[in-house]
């Protein structure tokens, strides 16, 4: 492990980690340059943003290759560069960056997906007048996100985290002329802020307990044995150890950013932003940052977990249980809501929430590799779905209601094919698609968990629902007859080519995480990977495969039964609504979470605000008024004194003076010559005095 604690320029570190800081820095600099450009410099700004991110991608691939080769050679796979930002007293605020399998693979993913989405955006935003600003924000976002990825200091991570939140806010509100977009931006910002407060508390607590902000620092980082051991001995309230309490606080931050229950409400509204933004930020990268954060601090969550002799988890911790339950609950909840949505992007948004729940559950149950694998595959196919949705919206003249689409499979062939790949990957169609392998790993972990069984059934149910709502959406959009206005058209090449690339990855990525060749897991956990084709034929796997297949086909079949090729009128009630109106209404209204918040939290704040207002007006205002009154009265008194006492005397004196002045002022008659005469007279008088005084 290479370590530079004080110097900013790493000498002994490898080139890969030495230049790692360039990965976020280049897009941020590009964003700054674009910010200075004039609005009409569209081509230049897009070129700058794409070029910067391409550069970052090259660097990320270089770093990734470096890590992989190190890993293959059996060398250390974790390198850090740390430096002191500033020092107060004995405590130093350290910043740094890290190169390990987790950050390397994440950086490659962010850069790659980001680059595709950047390219896609040049087509999607081509007619927007604020094209330049859009790329400025996008570039800033990419830089900040990459900063989150490579951060080795929880403070640096938090700074980039907040920067990511800011760009998310800016991009959701990109069309700020729309009141709904502005409101959604505010909602996203404030809701995530709730989680971030807890996150910040967690950071402060962590810093107070361990005395360092660095994750890994040659054994003295907060994620390393020494610090964790210390944390385990501390006890917080409710029987929790300090480690669990801090982990839960950090998880609150992650939940805010990743849209976990109960802080998920902002994410569907965030679909008001441009579709590439939805794809990049609210599907592939930023929302996954929460998952990534949990993966990064996983040692903290799992601290104190008893291990078996082989190193596998032999138990679980409170923090992990909480993460698991919240993830599973979110997965099912969001999938349920997604069933009854009519907005193409909103369905995908709830789907994202649901899948994030899967990732969290995966992290809680199966560890970093399981969660991260789903994160990576999901990033590709969800970005694919969002971009496909964007392509559909673009082709249908900015129409987002799936009831007003239909039959697009002929008009938008490329979009349909790629979208279908994404949809099948999301559903977890067996064997072929990457989604199957990643989701399967989670289900397997849930199934194998010896301590909690509930999440397994929840996740199974969620999987059925996922297949169902995706079938419903695809049926509405691509099958049946065209029900919208105007004539739909296929999107330009610049948009479909990224779709195709993403589709390719949505299929191919599964290969790195099959039980037969668990390369991804091995890479992340740092042991050698081996191909064992026999695992595919074991009874356990066959059982699981069967279950998954049943689940997927159940969902697909139900969906096709209810919606397939029906092309109902937009005004017609939904097929499900006919059978179970009460449930439909509840689902359509998103299980009343927003309403619940508005009658509880928001109403509480209103009440509290009015109390504060009352307090301000009556109590504090009253005191101020009383003080003012006292002063006013004394001033009145003073005035009376002045008028009658002082002024009387003064006026009298002035009158006297004025009378006297009248006499004198006759001399002051405005004639220059009079003055001159008086002057001369004075000279004579003075000279006369002189003469008399000289002549005694």
């Amino acid at each position: 492990m290479i370590d530079q604690t004080t110097s900013l320029t790493p000498q002994a570190a490898s080139t890969a980690v030495g230049i790692l800081w360039l990965i976020p820095a280049v897009p941020i600099v590009a964003s700054g340059v674009i910010a200075l450009l004039k609005q009409p410099r569209r081509k230049l700004s897009a070129t700058l943003a794409i070029g910067a991110l391409s550069f970052s991608l090259l660097l990320a691939i270089f770093a990734f290759v470096h890590v992989v080769s190190n890993w293959a050679a059996g060398a250390a796979t974790r390198e850090t560069v740390n430096f002191t930002w500033f020092q107060f007293g004995n405590s130093a605020v350290d910043l740094g960056w890290i190169l390990d399998p987790l950050s390397a693979i994440m950086a490659v993913m962010v850069c790659f997906v980001g680059l595709l989405i950047f390219i896609y955006s040049t087509g999607y935003m081509a007619h927007d007048e604020n094209f330049t600003r859009f790329f400025c924000f996008l570039s800033l976002f990419a830089g900040a996100m990459l900063g989150v990825v490579i951060a080795n200091s929880i403070l640096l991570l938090f700074m980039c985290w907040e920067l990511v939140g800011l760009t998310s806010y800016l991009l959701i509100g990109f069309w700020y002329q729309k009141p709904s977009a502005a409101a959604a931006a505010k909602k996203a910002f404030i809701t995530t802020r709730v989680g971030d407060i807890f996150f910040l508390l967690g950071i402060v607590w962590l810093f107070a307990q361990t005395g360092t902000l660095l994750f890994y620092n040659h054994g003295s980082g907060s994620m390393e044995g020494l610090a964790l051991g210390g944390l385990l001995t501390q006890h917080a309230a409710l029987g929790l150890t300090a480690a669990s309490a801090i982990a839960l606080l950090i998880f609150a931050g992650a939940a805010g950013k990743s849209g976990q229950l109960p802080l998920h409400v902002w994410l569907p509204d965030a679909m008001e932003g441009p579709t590439p933004v939805s794809a990049l930020i609210h599907a592939a990268t930023m929302v996954a940052a929460g998952v990534y954060l949990i993966a990064r601090v996983y040692p903290l969550l799992s601290a104190g977990m008893p291990l078996t002799a082989s190193g596998d988890a032999a138990g679980t911790t409170t923090a992990l249980i909480v993460v698991t339950w919240i993830g599973a609950a979110t997965a099912v909840f969001a999938a349920l809501v997604a069933v009854a949505q009519n907005d193409i992007k909103r369905i995908l948004a709830y789907s994202t929430i649901s899948q994030l729940g899967y990732m969290m559950a995966g992290l809680g149950l199966g560890g970093v590799a399981v969660g991260m694998f789903h994160l990576i595959t999901h990033a590709f196919f969800k970005a694919l779905l969002f971009l496909g949705a964007g392509s559909v919206i673009h082709g249908c003249h900015e129409e987002q209601d799936i009831r007003r689409m239909g039959g697009l499979k002929t008009q938008m062939r490329a979009t349909f094919l790629t979208y279908a790949v994404g949809m099948l990957a999301l559903c977890g169609f067996p064997l072929v698609f990457s989604g199957f392998w990643s989701k399967d790993a989670i289900l397997e972990a849930a199934h194998n968990s010896a301590y909690i069984k509930g999440p397994y059934y929840l996740l199974i149910f969620g999987a059925v629902l996922t297949a169902f709502y995706m079938t419903r959406q695809v049926s509405y959009v691509f099958f049946g007859k065209w029900r919208g206005h105007g004539h739909p058209h296929e999107s330009p090449r610049v948009m479909t080519v990224p779709l195709a690339i993403l589709a390719l990855f949505a299929v191919a990525l599964g290969a790195i995480g099959t039980p037969a060749w668990p390369w991804f897991r091995a890479f992340l956990e740092g042991h050698a990977a081996s191909i064992d084709i026999h695992t595919l034929f074991e009874a356990d796997f066959a059982k699981l495969l069967a279950t998954s297949t049943v689940i997927v086909f159940l969902g697909l079949g139900l969906g096709w039964l209810l919606y397939g090729n029906k092309s109902p009128k937009p005004e017609e009630p939904d097929a499900l609504e006919k059978t179970a109106p009460a449930i439909w209404a509840a689902l359509r209204d998103r299980l009343y979470v927003d309403e619940l918040y508005s009658v509880t939290v928001i109403a509480f704040y209103y009440r509290w605000a009015s109390v504060a207002d009352w307090l301000d007006r009556r109590v504090w205002g009253g005191i101020v008024a009383a003080v003012a009154w006292v002063f006013k009265m004394s001033a009145q008194f003073n005035r009376l004194l002045d008028m009658h006492g002082v002024d009387g005397t003064f006026d009298k004196a002035c009158e006297e003076l004025s009378t006297g002045g009248g006499i004198v002022s006759r001399v002051q008659n405005g004639r220059a010559q009079t003055y001159l005469r008086i002057l001369a007279f004075a000279v004579i008088a003075l000279a006369a005095i002189l003469i008399w005084s000289v002549k005694p």
């Binding site: 010559q673 009079t674 005469r677 001369a680 007279f681 000279v683 004579i684 000279a687 006369a688 003469i691 000289v694």
Partner: protein, 166 residues
């Protein structure tokens, strides 16, 4: 104290007196020019060549012309209807006489202390120039500033008010 002195004194004083008493303003201005010329002669008589020629250049070449212009621009060349002297001239004259009395007394009283005669100073224009840019350079610069300010000020004051209002 030769005949030259009395001649010049007579010219100068006559010019000054004429300037102060002549009814016609233009005549008065020309008479004062004679007084200025007399003073220049005085300076030459006192071996102050540079000052004398500067006196001619400035007073006869510039100030007299300015006065004449001012007279013409203010229609002063027409004879005033209600006399040339102020209503209170009878106060002014005794005051002036008093000043002369005082000054005269001072001169006479101190005449014994005055040097009787002195050799012609060996000072030429070159020395004056050296002194101006040497010992007296600060006054010279200040004077330059003053003249610039006065020029601008005079133009501003005499400018048509409508133009200035723009």
């Amino acid at each position: 104290m030769g005949i030259m002195f009395y001649l010049i004194a007579a010219i100068t004083l006559a010019g000054a007196l004429a300037a102060m008493t002549l009814k016609h303003l233009v005549h008065a201005a020309l008479a004062v020019t004679v007084a200025f010329a007399g003073l220049a002669l005085f300076f030459l008589n006192l071996d102050a060549q540079f000052a004398g020629f500067a006196q001619i250049l400035v007073y006869i070449g510039a100030v007299a012309i300015l006065v004449v212009f001012a007279i013409l621009l203010t229609r002063g060349s027409e004879l005033p209807k209600d006399g040339v002297f102020s209503r209170t001239w009878f106060v002014g004259l005794p005051v002036a006489a008093g000043i002369f009395a005082v000054l005269g007394w001072a001169v006479i009283a101190s005449s014994k202390a005055l040097p009787s005669d002195a050799p012609t100073p060996a000072v030429n224009v070159h020395d004056i120039g050296v002194a101006l840019v040497g010992r007296y350079v600060l006054p010279l610069e200040i004077l330059a500033l003053l003249l610039t300010a006065a020029t601008i000020g005079a133009v501003m004051v005499a400018l048509h008010e409508k133009e200035r209002a723009k």
